[in-house]
């Protein structure tokens, strides 16, 4: 079924960035990952972490709207940890892989709704999240949520 397929076209650029075109929109992504805080680009790994966070934050808000649970704001911090970063740097004698082995997500929700209502919507969000459900098959995925006013 075509509705199940999504695609992006990624084209290299001379400056080391790549243009990503999806439907009628585009954005740019840089190196796979970087250890340089001053690197002027968004890495593929950062994109992935950001995407997972956005999946959960926006997923939660959309679902809350549907269920008429009033949520004011949400914010997620997403941290990923490589199995062995030195492998990426080609350090001789290193063992392991460059895979992300663990991702932790902390989600903050501001709401005046009851904790039960928010937790129910949050459980639904996790069940329906395309990225969380994919990633949990591949990495140790820790997700926690905190409710504040």
């Amino acid at each position: 079924m075509d509705e199940l397929r999504f695609s992006a076209r990624v084209t290299s650029r001379p400056d080391g960035q790549a243009d990503v075109r999806v439907r009628k929109r585009s954005f740019e992504v840089g190196a796979p990952l970087t250890f340089d805080n001053a690197y002027d680009g968004i890495t593929a790994v950062e994109q992935l972490l950001g995407s997972l966070g956005a999946d959960l934050v926006n997923g939660l808000l959309n679902r809350a709207k549907k269920r008429r649970v009033e949520i004011d704001s949400a914010e997620a911090t997403v941290e990923g940890e490589l199995d062995n970063a030195l492998m990426y740097l080609d350090v001789v004698g290193e063992k392991g892989t460059t895979a992300i082995k663990r991702i932790s997500v902390r989600l903050y929700v501001s709401t005046f709704a009851t904790a039960e209502a928010v937790k129910a919507v949050w459980a639904e969000t996790l069940q329906r999240s395309p990225l969380a459900n994919t990633l949990k098959r591949a990495v140790k995925l820790d997700i926690s949520m905190k409710i504040a006013i």
Binding site: N37, E75, T77, R106, S110, A148
Partner: protein, 389 residues
């Protein structure tokens, strides 16, 4: 100040806001509720907080800071040249993002939940900071009134965000000149309107003294520090004394504490007042309003002639201190202070940050009742002595 009983019971400032008021605050910020409509709701909230204090036996009342978002960021509504920015917004403009990220992780809060009054233009007082709070209280109570104000050092440190402020003020010293002037104007009006007790909140002083080598957790206010504690403390003392110099007589206090953002005591700062003592003694305030109910503050000490606002209950715990415990604490302090030099208060406010209060209204009321009960007992014990004022 008007005649007070021995061991006057007072508040540090804030009282937890009702959900209704918090919702109204949010709507006001989003532009969906007018300032006038908000003030009407806040009036009701203040009256309730006032009733609870009077019922509990509080001698010097506050308005529970019901109109404020927190004890210092509220100035952004009153001052021109100041913009309330969430930390999320600040992350877009400041260089040292990592320091902010560390603070947020330690506090375990989202970036949108912390706001900082940031100086983005020449600052000026559009409306008084707290005069309306005083006038409303005066209309509705015969009790003496305490007005907590953010101190000049806190305001300068918080408002000076070099990435945006430097376009207007070259240094925090330059910004401080205007901060001092604004506070002097405010205090003159507060005195004229009959304020009984003006308290400066300068919690960042403990951060200067105690946070070396630790992750700073004092919101944004900590970031513009020079790194040299002695220099910072000198700066703070000079600002506070400049604010007070030559003003008509009024009872003044300074409140410092080691943080009141979390019920998890391990995230809060720790250390006795000893390293701050030389500077605290040079402040031209009459009283130091200090936390002592928490062990993190160490034992009571005397500060050259200043009276003491003795913190006798911990606003962050759900256990209500027993009046006997409080009496015992005061008896200890009486070895260093004369009875008429001791006021009783909680360690800090009960709802310093409106969206993350450390107590419920019910617990705040019970704690203030316990303090008042202890005060009664202490007055009985010290009845023989004549109150000399």
């Amino acid at each position: 100040m008007r005649k007070l009983p021995l061991f006057p019971v007072t508040m540090v400032g804030s009282w937890p806001r009702s959900n209704e008021l918090l919702r109204a605050q949010k709507l006001k910020r989003a532009g969906q509720l007018s300032a006038a409509e908000f003030e009407k709701l806040a009036d009701e909230a203040v009256l309730e907080v006032l009733r609870l204090q009077e019922k509990a036996g509080v001698d010097i009342v506050t308005d529970g800071e019901q109109r404020r978002d927190n004890f210092y960021s509220f100035v952004s509504e009153k001052l021109g040249g100041v913009k309330l920015m969430t930390l999320a917004e600040m992350l877009d403009i400041i260089e040292d993002k990592e320091a902010f990220e560390k603070i947020l992780k330690t506090l375990d809060v989202p970036a949108y939940s912390l706001s900082n009054p940031t100086c983005v233009g020449k600052i000026e007082r559009k409306t008084p900071l707290a005069l309306n709070e005083l006038q409303f209280l005066k209309k509705h109570t015969t009790k003496p009134v305490k007005i907590p104000l953010p101190g000049p050092y806190l305001l300068t440190r918080a408002m000076f965000v070099k990435e945006v402020t430097k376009k207007v003020y070259k240094s925090k010293e330059e910004l401080a000149v205007d901060v001092v002037r604004i506070l002097r104007d405010e205090i003159r009006e507060l005195i004229e309107a009959g304020a009984d007790f003006i308290q400066f909140d300068e919690p960042v002083l403990t951060e200067v003294a105690f946070s070396r080598g630790k992750t700073r957790t004092f919101m944004c206010a900590s970031l513009a520090a020079s790194g040299d504690p002695t220099k910072e403390l000198e700066f703070a003392v000079s600002l506070i004394n400049q604010v007070l110099e030559g003003l008509p007589p009024v009872f003044t206090g300074l409140h410092i504490c080691r943080g009141n953002w979390s019920k998890d005591e391990s995230t809060l700062l720790e250390g006795t007042y000893a390293p701050l003592k030389p500077w605290l003694e040079r402040l031209n305030v009459k009283q130091l309003v200090l936390e002592y109910a928490t062990e993190r503050a160490g034992d009571a000490m005397a500060f050259g002639g200043k009276s003491l606002g003795l913190g006798v209950c911990n606003p962050r715990t759900d256990v209500i201190e027993r009046p006997e415990e409080i009496v015992e604490m005061v008896e200890k302090a009486l070895k260093l202070y004369a009875p008429e030099q001791i006021y009783l208060n909680p360690d800090c406010g009960f709802g310093t940050f409106s969206n993350s209060p450390v107590a419920t209204s019910g617990i705040a009321a019970l704690k203030m009742q316990a303090i008042a009960r202890a005060a009664k007992e202490l007055r009985k014990r010290n009845k023989s002595m004549n109150r000399s004022k």
